[in-house]
Symmetry: D4
Subunit: 162 residues, 8 copies
Amino acid sequence: MKIAVLMGSKSDLPVLEESTAVLRQFGVACEMRILSAHRTPDEVTELARSARENGFGAIIAGAGMSAHLAGVIAAHTTLPVIAVPIDASSLNGLDALLSMVQMPPGIPVATMGIGKAGAKNAALLAISILSLSDQSLKSKLDLYRQDMKKTVLEADEGIRKL
Amino acid sequence: MKIAVLMGSKSDLPVLEESTAVLRQFGVACEMRILSAHRTPDEVTELARSARENGFGAIIAGAGMSAHLAGVIAAHTTLPVIAVPIDASSLNGLDALLSMVQMPPGIPVATMGIGKAGAKNAALLAISILSLSDQSLKSKLDLYRQDMKKTVLEADEGIRKL
Amino acid sequence: MKIAVLMGSKSDLPVLEESTAVLRQFGVACEMRILSAHRTPDEVTELARSARENGFGAIIAGAGMSAHLAGVIAAHTTLPVIAVPIDASSLNGLDALLSMVQMPPGIPVATMGIGKAGAKNAALLAISILSLSDQSLKSKLDLYRQDMKKTVLEADEGIRKL
Amino acid sequence: MKIAVLMGSKSDLPVLEESTAVLRQFGVACEMRILSAHRTPDEVTELARSARENGFGAIIAGAGMSAHLAGVIAAHTTLPVIAVPIDASSLNGLDALLSMVQMPPGIPVATMGIGKAGAKNAALLAISILSLSDQSLKSKLDLYRQDMKKTVLEADEGIRKL
Amino acid sequence: MKIAVLMGSKSDLPVLEESTAVLRQFGVACEMRILSAHRTPDEVTELARSARENGFGAIIAGAGMSAHLAGVIAAHTTLPVIAVPIDASSLNGLDALLSMVQMPPGIPVATMGIGKAGAKNAALLAISILSLSDQSLKSKLDLYRQDMKKTVLEADEGIRKL
Amino acid sequence: MKIAVLMGSKSDLPVLEESTAVLRQFGVACEMRILSAHRTPDEVTELARSARENGFGAIIAGAGMSAHLAGVIAAHTTLPVIAVPIDASSLNGLDALLSMVQMPPGIPVATMGIGKAGAKNAALLAISILSLSDQSLKSKLDLYRQDMKKTVLEADEGIRKL
Amino acid sequence: MKIAVLMGSKSDLPVLEESTAVLRQFGVACEMRILSAHRTPDEVTELARSARENGFGAIIAGAGMSAHLAGVIAAHTTLPVIAVPIDASSLNGLDALLSMVQMPPGIPVATMGIGKAGAKNAALLAISILSLSDQSLKSKLDLYRQDMKKTVLEADEGIRKL
Amino acid sequence: MKIAVLMGSKSDLPVLEESTAVLRQFGVACEMRILSAHRTPDEVTELARSARENGFGAIIAGAGMSAHLAGVIAAHTTLPVIAVPIDASSLNGLDALLSMVQMPPGIPVATMGIGKAGAKNAALLAISILSLSDQSLKSKLDLYRQDMKKTVLEADEGIRKL
């Protein structure tokens, strides 16, 4: 299964590239799309509606300000939708976070942290979802965790020598 | 021209009735609708797309939490869209306010205050818009302002006598 | 009908120019003014009171901090008043947003997002209002939407080729 | 010199009565007024403009939501203006606080805490101001402080006996 | 695959029951647990570590205040972890929301809205995840969406008759 | 009467110089002091206690973070105390604002806006207070207002010519 | 060593009793005091200055609004000062939290969560501090933890049986 | 007794070095560690569990975002745990502050201010704790306070000469 990585504006690309970098590192196929819930609502609807039959297993949607993209996607698919709030106004991304996470009951959106950390985690959540039916991804996640642990322990060793 | 008064959930009715009460007081035709951006996205789209040709002059949309209703409406019409954030979660309506007011450039949403005060003002803004081409509404707005003034001055007189 | 574009301080000009740029693009006449609710209250009152008879169809008012400009304007006219909160303090524009959007019942102010995005949308809302009685503006809004859509779809095409 | 105690709405009375109770306790003349910056702007202007010559030494102004009352008063007088933000919306008075305290440079407003505590302190600040030229008020303030101290120390004694 | 529904305290039960009610409605097996990240850290670790091999497909974790439960779970499993922030302090659940959603890069937590709406959506997200490899759940999700739509449209019909 | 201009740290000087610049412009004597409520509590107490007899008419106190300076001063004098919250942490001055403005009942602190605008207004409020018994300051305040008005109107004229 | 449990107002008693209840449960001597940083500053100073020689090992200070009590105490002693922010205004205790936790460098205050949970933890922190030189308190803390664990596990067992 | 100074990531080093600098200035032994609650949970648990027997008297833990480090440490030790929230996201450290300070009842965490000021105070609190059984540290704290006082008074003298 592939992962769709969607963003509301070209300026969101540096954030969402954190998602695609992780997906590629794990060998998970992904497609990047730039589509706006407000400026291209029909294309967003079409993408969401056909995503499952098109072989997608989850949709990552990043947007800023009154970030409706993930919610609009979720209204048109029952696939897992993962939201990445982006800091794109003077309000530090709090506007995007609340626009995404406070979804009314019935239409879930899996919300990540604001910005690049959230985008990275969005990919890892997508991989975690796919790992339920893909043992190799499960193993890669374990290795990824071990690498992270190793990096921390090396930094720890370095600082203890100071 | 009529005004559409839309809400995302039946529980929003007590708030939006503040809008319809004012519209009726001014003799402005209005239609109340309950439609959810997430649960009935197609109906919302259809309402928005046909609103201008159906004789609407503005659309009032009230919603709570991650309130996408007004933005989704605005994506499908160039009529004025007036948003009423509703306090429907533990976050006091701040979630709905930011989900509505921080619209990205290109798709405007005229946001009111949270709750009943905002719903009342939404109707008055709609009437103000219609008054540009309806002299009788302009006169009624002037009278409404005079009534408000009179109420305040009577309260003032009352308190000065204490 | 003309649009008044008002700002509380000369330093707000870069924000409000987003409004006038859009208005000019649509061929809508506009007048820029710098008037402060606190430093020139009489001139603000005079502008608001005479705006309708002077041929204005809406007033855009941008201000920062305890942004009273739009509310004071709205107290003196029944024309649509459109508020643009400006980020002009350490509080990121949240002070201006709440000073504008939380108007008490009776005096509506149509509040946009903070800063340049809000200023652009203020102009588009004003045009939307004028479009109710000006078919050519309605057509231009449709074209503007199509252009926005085209820009997004081109970006989408670009990213899909990567 | 008298103190004007102004509120934007009759519903603010329970809060502002905290101010008048303190003023009366100190024997300071005060006049309560209900006037709205938005619904009776001319009367607010008139009150502010004539306040100094009418024998007022300070103006206390309480309001909720987008609380413009104190700022509008301050725009029309160089008397000390004391603002009491009132919790009159779902936002807990934060809207009123920011609408009052973040005044742009040039027009000061002395802002108190939200609600009854702030209203009480507004009166005490007004008395403090008058005490600069009224030795008896200075003495009464000292006594008031001693009474407060005594009350605390009695409570302290009570709890130490437990 | 089963879903674990974990809460940090017995007082969180009314919120998390929203999750189990939905899971049971869909015929998805679930196990409720009360375990605290701070008071029973070893049991939390043990549950997380063994969850995948014990047949769980996702873990829903609800907690309030400095809500570490979901993050601690996620540190010990690569299964999808779904967080439900609970309003359990004077800060309206904002503390729990930020404690859950702002996870550092590397360890994803899928955060829902605050309280019962979030708990309901947590179950729906879990079902959505399981639906990737369970066609019958996919069909049930479609029916669930249709039911929601029908409920809204009936409410809409009701209000239009008024 | 003189005005004391107090700051909690040398780093606050650029902010508080806005106060002294205005005071000097009006010919009001002032004394700058650097004293910390936490590091030099005795000196702060001494300054506050003797301020009235030393000929001060008001005390301006600027501080950042958990800004206790103004409150501690106010605990030891019945002179008007004017607080200037300073943006000296990552929280944008909101910490200092709330530490100053939310004083418990009994001890008033006249709080200004955050930073330089607030410091300027602090001086103007102090002058306004002194103007109650100093006709020349009243006249200077009128002139200051006229100058501000003139500056705005010139900017207005400039922009209208564009 | 004893623990001082100080509160700014009698109304804070229900919160701070959470502290004394825990201290008594552990057999740690404590003294409750009601003293206000603003209304009885001298008594607060005296208590703080003499606390170490009077046999206190830590001071717990609870207060609401612009909560200066803990900071003022800390300015006069080098004993550990533990702050309990209290929700005593419309701002939900956020004002007290920021007034306590954002202490400038040099004068530490150990801040707990808002309200009763924080008061309970304040006592546990004080006991933890005393446990460094009191082996029996260390053992009691271990037992306390075991009891908490047992309570959680019993609740867990109860819910698993459902 | 030694102090452990722990951070969740190498990038937190510039903040936590404020802690170690103070500890070294006081001659208190300390050990810096880089360990992540999420990436190296076992090592964090091990450190916490053995800290008391390894001769530590307190643990300082700094982290950003959903900062669970201090809470996880506190779950595994009854030593005093001191938390330093770090500004490591777009939310200015408010996320880390709430993730640390709002601990549920039973497991205390002594929270400092955000960033370097907090890190400095964390060390001073640790020293304050150790000073209960180490008279020389008590004396050094007194000298430290005197130095701070002297620095402020010199700055005061400098500004008074201006």
